[in-house]
Symmetry: C2
Subunit: 128 residues, 2 copies
DNA sequence: CATAGGGGTTCCAGTCACAGGAAGGTCAAG
DNA sequence: CTTGACCTTCCTGTGACTGGAACCCCTATG
């Protein structure tokens, strides 16, 4: 398979796949013409990566997850630890965003949004 | 005021304040020794920026909000439009993160997290 | 008066995970 | 033979800073 085929299969842009090779996440072979050749195992790895990234895992997490995936003597506790830690980070992020949303929603609702200059949003930003 | 004083007042790191000068958000004067000199108006601007950034507004949004803040003939509708658009983006982000959280939480709960290799998390990542 | 410290200054590199684009080689079809 | 779609490498840019090097300035103390 050429890079375009794997890109179609996995939904990852070709650019991203090249980048993943660059940082050592996949190591496709090369044809005589210099083209990358992806086997089934490469395609599976990339699909795995695509899903892990879609769940928000960092590249480093992905690297570790890939290693565990390929390690038959792994302990599921290690996988779980990575996932749980990431889950906590996501929850923290959500909490931060939710706080922003609440404050913003309040300000937006208070603001008339007409052509007069008076604006509760700016007031909220200028004074605590 | 020197940069350290403003940093303490606003809670912004000095580095960040220099960066804000670099990109033209504030324009403090300079003393004979080359030090930046911040007046009250600069300090207010920076406090405004700190709050806007804390609400997640982008630097470009901040630039526009600052301009509106200083524009006596502004229409509050313009401010509101920026804020509302930002609010929508935040809500979109939250929705995305919440979806990740749900999937992750489910996988984490299914995983035993012991020293055996069997792992629903990896299974979830490998197959759709 | 020399020095030590805690300011301040500039400039350069790195972050994260790619995306865009230039310049050029390769391949299959018409 | 040419066209156009694909592939290659390399370089730059993104957002909003952060860290660090190398250097200057100011005040207090021995």
């Amino acid at each position: 398979m050429n890079i375009g085929d794997v890109a179609t299969q996995t939904g990852l842009p070709a650019k991203t796949i090249r980048y993943y090779e660059d940082i050592g996440l996949v190591t496709p072979e090369r044809g005589a013409n210099g083209y990358r050749i992806f086997g089934q195992s490469d395609a599976h790895k990339l699909a795995f990566l695509a899903r892990a990234r879609a769940l928000g895992f960092s590249i480093e997490d992905c690297r570790n997850l890939l290693a565990l995936w390929g390690d038959r003597s792994r302990a599921s506790a290690d996988v779980r630890a990575i996932a749980k830690h990431h889950l906590t980070e996501i929850e923290t992020k959500i909490a931060g965003l939710a706080a922003m949303r609440d404050t913003l929603a309040e300000l937006v609702q208070e603001c008339a949004g007409d052509n007069r200059p008076d604006c509760p949003i700016l007031k909220g930003l200028e004074g605590a």
